[in-house]
Amino acid sequence: MIVEILTVLFMLMGVFFITVAGLGILRMPDLYTRMHASTKAGTIGLGLLMVAVALHFQDLASVSRAVAIMIFLVLTAPVAAHLLGKSMLDKGYKMWHKDGTRR
């Protein structure tokens, strides 16, 4: 019973973070801020969701798969965002600032 409540809690928190990542990618004013919202909130949301999957199944194969998904995401998502942001910065994409200018 307590495990099921923990599963529901982790699953709802993870899905909330992933939806906030979608909202950020829709509403943010700039490529870099969009990438920031998508990468960080998406990674923490999927990590919490995989904790929920591991709590729900609780055998060795499923838990190791969930941990493998978490490790792959934590390893690959920052590298992808860094390469994309670096390539756009090299092409001359200016950052957005709050006073309406780009520099």
Binding site: V8, M11, G42, V79
Partner: protein
């Protein structure tokens, strides 16, 4: 299936669909190619989330292998697009609709 878990699973599916709609809107109207690549990356994240919630919902842990594969393939796609943006000479209009 107990009722709390069923309600939470339905809520999770609805919330993931809302996130996917947001990401699709950004993918359609993104000013540059990089915005569309970021939206595609988030769509693959949302698909991994769908697979996780569906494997809880159907009590079938075999779907998690697909999620591992999808995580790696989405990373490779984003890396390929970033390299292509770095090498291409296409000039876009990057600030056309940013002030939303």
């Amino acid at each position: 299936m107990d009722s709390i878990l069923g309600v939470a699973i339905n809520l999770s599916f609805v919330s993931l669909i809302i996130g996917m709609v947001f990401s699709l809107v950004r993918m359609i109207k993104g000013p540059t190619l990089a915005d569309r690549v970021v939206a595609l990356d988030l769509i693959s994240f949302l698909t991994i989330g769908f697979i996780g919630v569906y494997s809880i919902s159907s009590n079938e842990p075999a779907f998690l292998g697909i999620a591992i594969t999808l995580a790696l393939v989405a990373f490779l796609g984003t890396i390929a697009f970033a390299r292509w943006i770095m090498k291409s000479q296409v000039v876009e209009d990057p600030y056309s609709e940013d002030e939303t």
